[in-house]
């Protein structure tokens, strides 16, 4: 039987010629990641093993990005645990404020993850690196601890769902709309325990930033990982960002899939996920009249340079609505500098938006834009669960940077064409 991309990567890292869905394997890890929330728990568990060193000081990344710059004393203590552990172990890829960025934008940018890798991260959105043709999945703190100790992790080989993407998205429609459309179609557990494999000329037409956005939200369909086929765009991205060598895996012609979907990208409209699940997808022409209080443009889902450019294109020469706070958070220092040098900050500030240093902050209701009771936000982040951005009676509407920026101006959920 043929293998999917994911199955081939897992087989190679388990030292096996082939694997089948359901098989339990132990795979070698190319990268183990943690953040300021999950790493302290992992460090506590790691210390219980009683080792004086980690498996490889170059293959661990600790990125304090969630509650940083430290929002209070307790978060400062958590980051201190990460910092001291990284120093004690000699971990090369610890990123202090100043170098730090939102982890899933930072690792590809730093060239730490490349096609064919097996990556685990104590953060559910670790699936982002599937955009590069890697097997990348979220795990918890104890798995991170075990990974740091042994350089290995156990996996159940997943089945896969194939998404054949065709055509090109229309103006103002991007990766976010495509993935919200897919989650709306299959549901928040539609890909539970499975891989989502994205192929086809439509996938190749998408930019790397769009692919990162889509792979990032595979977890919101319950998937173990999301993965794109490597093409010239992937190779160019990796060669621009990394010095590491890499391996390209392509699915076999006779690979088996539990389901196959064909999606015409040209038919997808701008899509918004209503509270309180990412599967509550509605097209922009069906949103009704929803007044909003806040807009967030940023996060591991949509805080990259293309997202900043789209937001600027919409905000240029316009003013944020008087009843809306618009907060823009470029995901890394590099993106920040690039946005600044391209003059995007002038556009944002002239429009009345606030620009923040990189942080996950508001996405998970940490800091830098918390909602009060009854408030509503349009956000380019990835989750709209109850209480996700603040008060349990607040609401989050997930959307693309184009919709978020247009909504900031309109004071209600709107697309750029409605301005």
């Amino acid at each position: 039987m043929g293998m999917t991309m994911t199955q081939k990567i897992l087989a190679a890292h388990a030292g096996l010629d082939s694997v089948v869905p359901g098989q339990l394997i132990k795979a070698k890890l190319d990268m183990v990641l943690g953040n300021d929330i999950t790493s302290p728990v992992a460090i506590k568990e790691f210390d219980k093993v009683g080792l004086n060193s980690v498996f490889d000081i170059n293959k661990i990344a600790i990125v304090p990005d969630h509650f940083t710059p430290n929002k209070d004393i307790k978060s400062a203590e958590q980051v201190k645990i990460c910092r001291e552990f990284s120093k004690r172990m000699g971990i090369v890829n610890f990123f202090e404020v100043g170098q730090m960025g939102v982890e899933h934008a930072l690792l590809p940018e730093k060239g730490l993850v490349v096609p064919g890798d097996v990556i685990i991260g104590a953060d559910s959105h670790t699936c982002t690196y599937g955009a590069l043709g890697a097997f990348s999945t979220g795990i918890g703190s104890t798995d991170m601890a075990a990974g740091m100790a042994t350089g290995e992790a156990w996996f159940k080989v997943p089945e896969a769902i194939k998404f054949i993407l065709k055509g090109k998205p229309r103006k103002w429609v991007g990766g976010k709309d495509v993935i919200l459309h897919i989650i709306g179609m299959i549901g928040v557990d539609g890909a539970l325990y499975k891989s989502m494999e994205f192929i086809g000329d439509g996938a190749h037409a998408l930019s790397m930033d769009d692919r990162f956005t889509m792979a990032n939200m595979a977890i919101e369909a319950g998937a173990k990982n999301g993965i794109f086929e490597v093409d010239e765009k992937t190779k160019q991205y990796v060669e621009e960002h990394s010095v590491r060598s890499y391996t390209v895996y392509k699915a076999d012609e006779d690979a088996e899939y539990s389901e196959v979907f064909e999606i015409d990208l040209a038919a997808i409209k701008s899509t918004v996920a209503f509270p309180h699940l990412p599967e509550n997808a509605r097209t922009i022409d069906n949103v009704g009249d929803i007044k909003i209080d806040q807009v967030i443009i940023g996060s591991c889902t949509n805080g990259r340079i293309e997202d900043m450019r789209i937001a600027a294109e919409v905000l240029k020469g316009r003013k944020v609505h008087a009843d809306v706070r618009c907060i823009i958070i470029p995901a890394t220092q590099k993106i920040w500098k690039q946005a600044m040098n391209e003059g995007l900050f002038d556009i944002f500030i002239d429009a009345g938006a606030a620009i923040s240093t990189p942080t996950c902050g508001p996405c998970l209701g940490g800091h830098m834009g918390i909602l009060a009771k009854g408030e509503r936000a349009v956000s380019t982040t990835n989750r709209n669960f109850v209480g996700r951005m603040g008060h349990p009676e607040s609401e989050v509407y997930l959307a693309s940077p184009a919709i978020a920026a247009a909504s900031a101006i309109a004071g209600k959920i709107a697309g750029p064409d409605q301005l």
Partner: protein, 162 residues
């Protein structure tokens, strides 16, 4: 190993943000996490949960964030076992890794009602509803996972194999 207790029941897609909201993730102390467990979904959970109680839920339990604080909070609240139709995969891994007993059984999860008294035999994967008298066969763990569970979590399992 057995567990016996009164059922506290929830619906589908109980996410880790409601199990333990991110605003409390500045600590990893189990007792402190437990004091806020489920509060955005059910404010009364913490005052009503008794040691040994069983949590029963629908599909995709524990979806969302990878925070291990979620199973830690449930375990520290006194819950002896979670029965669900299905579990989100990171939550499933985390529960095994930290030693929170969980069982996947769609029929039991649908049938069992809030307030029922249930008993679980983990070795056999049997669930008995003492209130209705009905029994169910839960999904047994693969042998590999049983080894992790009997070693009392992944870290002890690794220590013993180093």
């Amino acid at each position: 190993m057995n567990a016996k207790g009164k059922v506290i029941k929830y619906g589908n897609n109980v996410d880790t943000d409601v199990i333990i909201p991110a605003r409390y993730l500045t600590t990893s102390d189990p007792a402190e996490l437990a004091s806020h467990c489920m509060e955005d979904l059910d404010e009364k959970f913490i005052s009503k949960v008794q040691k040994g109680d069983v949590m029963v839920a629908g599909r995709n339990f524990g979806c969302g964030s990878s925070r291990e604080h979620a199973p830690i909070a449930i375990k520290a609240s006194g819950i002896s076992c979670v029965i669900a139709e299905t579990f989100a995969r990171i939550f499933y891994r985390n529960s095994i890794n930290i030693g929170l007993p969980i069982i996947e059984c769609a029929e039991a999860a649908q049938d069992i009602k809030d307030g029922d008294e249930v008993e679980i035999d983990f070795d056999k994967g049997f669930i008995t509803n003492l209130t209705s008298g009905k029994t169910y066969q839960g999904q047994p763990f693969p042998e590999f996972m049983q080894k992790i569970i009997s070693a009392d979590g992944l870290i002890n399992f690794i220590k013993s194999s180093l």
